[in-house]
């Protein structure tokens, strides 16, 4: 049949996500320097520039509005607030890129953190306790992956189940009580600094950079985008779709576990209700950073930017003594605007194509 029934062309590399991009200190478009790489800087900055602009505007506005914002202590504080949250969002991003979703990260974080705390209270050596906490998160992630690939449950359902189970388990094993006291040396992991830079920030940056490299430089990263784009096509091109899918849930679980350990360290206690609602915040960070819930669109830089935006807004709200309830409204609006602009762009480029 002559009629071509293709999906409408999607946003091309020259499209930035949203009008604010025009006022941006424009990132170099689709790169002369990197033209050989398949995913160009242009692609990445293209989908992120909206988020970057929002971030810069927010930082600029807060700098003007509050003389406390651009102080070392506040920035260190901000970094601590955002770091764990960014780590979770990066794990979530991998799942979202495969067109999946992981609702269990918040509960897994709490469970991993609480188990680590209990092991420490029981006198286990710190490295072993940390390893167990992270391994537990990874194992739960693998179970999520198996539920999705083997039991063929929709990711939403599989991880919704895990959300309930992990939260229930943590409440049972802790009897809903805070687990403490924890050794001081464990608490310095998240609260310490190196050369004045908070450890947490270093962790988050390293992880973000690692995820960025995985997504842009490795075969596995390319496979993640392929699975998110069209799993059946990917399978017929020899992509091990199941292994990739299980792996992204495992990594999301691993990072949730790591986040749990870090949060426990930061708070100096295992808190069974920690991480409630983190999953939605992580999804919001990815979406604000340009990720598409339909898969195959998004980047590590974007997710990190999204997490930063939400952190900056919260931080700024505190500094300016804005009612925290208004901040929730603002973040909700931000999500709608981010996705709305993306839709507009997609439609505009489809109209041209």
């Amino acid at each position: 049949m002559p009629k071509l029934l293709w999906r409408e062309p999607i946003a091309t590399t020259t499209i930035r996500s949203g009008p604010p991009a025009e006022f941006a200190p424009a990132p170099p478009p689709g790169g002369a320097t990197t033209a050989h790489r398949v995913l160009t800087v242009g692609d990445i900055a293209g989908r992120e520039s909206g988020g970057l602009v929002v971030l810069l505007v927010a930082i600029g506005a807060l700098t003007l509005a509050s003389n406390q914002f651009l102080t070392g202590s506040n920035l260190a504080n901000l970094a601590r607030q955002v770091a764990i949250f960014a780590i979770i969002a990066l794990g979530q991003l991998l799942v979202i890129l495969t067109a999946g979703i992981d609702l269990s990260v918040g509960s897994v974080l709490a469970l991993s953190g609480a188990v680590t705390a209990q092991l420490l209270v029981a006198g286990w050596p710190i490295p072993l306790a940390i390893l167990c906490g992270i391994a537990l998160g990874t194992a739960l992630g693998i179970i999520n992956g198996l539920l999705v690939t083997r039991a063929k449950l929709p990711p939403f359902i599989a991880t919704l189940g895990m959300l309930g189970i992990a939260r229930g388990v943590v409440l049972v094993i802790t009897k809903a009580k805070t687990v403490q006291p924890l050794p001081q040396s464990f608490q310095t992991i998240a609260n310490g600094t190196v050369l004045g830079i908070p450890n947490l920030l270093i962790f988050a940056v390293v992880i973000a950079f690692a995820i960025h490299l995985v997504l842009t430089r490795t075969v596995f990263g390319r496979y993640i985008y392929a699975v998110g784009s069209n799993p059946e096509s990917a399978r017929l091109a020899g992509v091990p779709v199941r292994v990739v899918t299980i792996s992204v849930y495992a990594i999301a679980g691993l990072l949730a576990g790591a986040g749990g350990v870090l949060l426990t360290s930061r708070l100096g206690a295992g808190i069974p209700t920690a991480g409630t609602g983190f999953e939605l915040n992580a999804i919001a960070a990815c979406v604000i950073g340009g990720a598409s819930l339909f898969g195959a669109k998004g980047s590590a830089l974007g997710a990190a930017t999204g997490a930063l935006i939400m952190g900056v807004l919260n931080n700024g709200g505190n500094l300016l003594a804005i009612n925290a309830f208004y901040l929730q409204i603002a973040i909700g609006v931000l999500i709608l605007v981010a996705v709305g602009f993306d839709q507009l762009n997609t439609r505009a480029s489809a109209g041209r194509g």
Partner: protein, 525 residues
């Protein structure tokens, strides 16, 4: 079989629907040119033509899905000014499609009246709904189907009848278009459906019947219109046609020059398939392929061609059978295994089973070869993208940049991208499923040349095509499938008539091919 008894001299009856000089182009492709069609009350009008002849486009023009670029369209003498689907439905043009338009999870009654459910102030009037559904079902002879039955639990034939019942509940029914309604039905079910269509005809409805099955046309057709390459080939009373004349009208044309004229002596055996069985109790398939050979696989829609390719490629599991690639036994456990063994598959449905739409052209080409070129899991070095670029250049891909998303390309160029993907894996055997589906004539020629060159360079090629000139023009040997089994094998000199006869099970016994390496013919169960 001759035509059904002529109730009245059909040509004299007034035309309910008249289409004159209709043309429709999609970009450079002329899908329909200057077609005239007259549907008369109480007459079954068959529409014949090969795949791509323009049947679907014509139906879409009639039902309002497409608007003709030119030509006049009248219903009962009144010009149709606004040919939208809704307007045409209210004018009495109804259609029953081969892909059922029913909502599988809802009840029969809800499906019948979807969009105009009886209600008072938004509250569903269930009694009235059930009553009206009952009557509609009785009208099509479905006395034992409950209006509350859930559609997906009904057998295919019943669903097809529900679809007809739905069409008949429309306020005005003057014309019903049947688009290959028997594709999913068994022989007996088809018979029942044809009987039903005859009853509709006798009640004075004008019917346009589209099918690939010649025997059905002879059974119920009063009049036949044959399309060829988007134009009108012939039109006349069914009684003036026999099978041969109809096939000639559908085919009759020389375009062999489009095809590569390279058939050398096939080389060493590359692929050996023995006893391939897709489901237990199903038919088994044997065949061979040599290097430098193009093997065509023909058959009607649903004869199991694509399924054979998918199981050969390890994409769908098989029950039994042995596959040898280049002398080595391979278990088709997955696409990856078969890919590593040296097989590449270009699927029929590029959108669903081929492309990664969000990814760039270059990413789409390299995706299957990443692992081979990768060290320590890192993306392969620059050379691979350079190689991909060279392949794309040599295939003369027309794109602004190889970084643009693959979804922005035209069908022919997308096919080139997929071809490049598989060539990059350095395959021994390339399998094409409907390689030119949705591709315009110019790109088709290029693709044929490439396929010919690949065979010349020693690859084994398998081509599945519904388009007979293409199948015969390309292939050195043609395997014809019917109901999942090999119905016969034809040599290079085969005619389109031979293929159609084998494929539709008409007369002729399967014959051994002259030059095939496998003279054995397995008619299966």
């Amino acid at each position: 079989m001759s035509a059904a008894p002529a109730l009245a001299a059909p040509a004299e009856a007034a035309a309910v629907l008249e289409l004159d000089g209709a043309s429709k182009a999609f970009g450079p492709v002329q899908a329909l040119s200057n077609v005239t069609l007259r549907l008369r009350r109480g007459q079954v009008h068959c529409l014949a033509g090969e795949n791509g002849a323009g049947k679907s486009t014509l139906i879409k023009v009639l039902t309002g899905a497409h608007r003709a670029d030119s030509g006049s369209f009248r219903i009962e003498g009144e010009p149709v000014t606004n040919p939208t689907p809704a307007a045409l439905r209210s004018l009495g043009v109804q259609a029953v499609y081969q892909e059922l338009s029913l909502l599988p999870h809802l009840s029969v009654a809800e499906n019948l009246f979807m969009g105009r459910l009886p209600a008072h102030k938004g509250l569903l009037d269930r009694g009235d709904l059930r009553r009206r559904a009952r009557k509609a079902l009785d009208d099509v002879g479905l006395n034992n189907v409950s209006p509350d039955a859930i559609v997906e639990r009904l057998p295919a034939a019943t669903r097809q009848l529900v679809e007809i019942a739905k069409v008949l509940t429309a306020d005005t029914v003057k014309v019903i278009v049947f688009d290959e309604p028997t594709t999913a039905l068994t022989e007996a079910e088809s018979k029942g459906l044809l009987e039903h269509i005859k009853r509709l005809r006798d009640s004075g409805v004008a019917i346009l019947y589209v099918t690939h099955r010649l025997e059905e046309m002879f059974e119920i057709g009063d009049w036949v219109t044959v399309l060829r390459d988007g134009g009108l080939s012939e039109s006349g009373p069914m009684s003036e046609y026999d099978e041969d004349k109809l096939i000639t009208a559908m085919v009759g044309r020389e375009i062999t020059s489009l095809y590569p004229d390279t058939h050398k002596v096939p080389g060493t055996p590359l692929l050996r398939v023995r006893g391939l069985q897709r489901e237990s109790g199903g038919p088994t398939i044997d065949f061979d392929l040599r290097s430098g050979e193009i093997l065509g696989i023909g058959g009607l829609l649903g004869s199991g061609r694509s399924e054979l390719l998918l199981s050969l490629f390890g994409a769908t599991p098989i029950v039994a059978g042995e596959i040898q690639v280049d002398g080595k036994s391979v278990k088709p456990t997955g696409p990856r295994t078969m890919m590593n063994a040296g097989i590449g598959l270009l699927t029929e449905d590029r959108k669903v089973l081929g492309l990664l739409p969000e990814l760039s052209i270059r990413e789409n080409v390299t995706i299957a070869s990443l692992r081979r070129g990768s060290r320590h899991g890192l993306l392969p070095p620059q050379e691979m993208s350079d190689e991909a670029d060279k392949l794309l250049d040599s295939l003369r891909l027309r794109a602004g940049s190889y970084n643009q998303p693959v979804s922005t390309l035209s069908g022919g160029n997308q096919q080139k991208v997929l071809l490049a993907r598989w060539l990059l894996t350095k395959p021994k055997i390339l399998v094409f499923d409907e390689p030119t589906k949705g591709i315009d004539v110019g790109a088709k020629g290029e693709l044929y040349t490439v396929i010919g060159n690949l065979a010349d360079s020693g690859l084994g090629i398998i081509v599945v095509s519904s388009y007979l000139p293409e199948l015969l023009g390309l292939a050195d040997r043609v395997l014809v499938l019917k109901d999942g089994a090999v119905a016969g094998e034809l040599g290079r000199a085969a005619s389109e008539e031979d293929v159609l006869r084998l494929a539709s099970g008409g007369g002729q016994r399967p014959q051994s091919s002259a030059n095939g390496s496998n003279g054995k013919v397995d008619a299966g169960a």
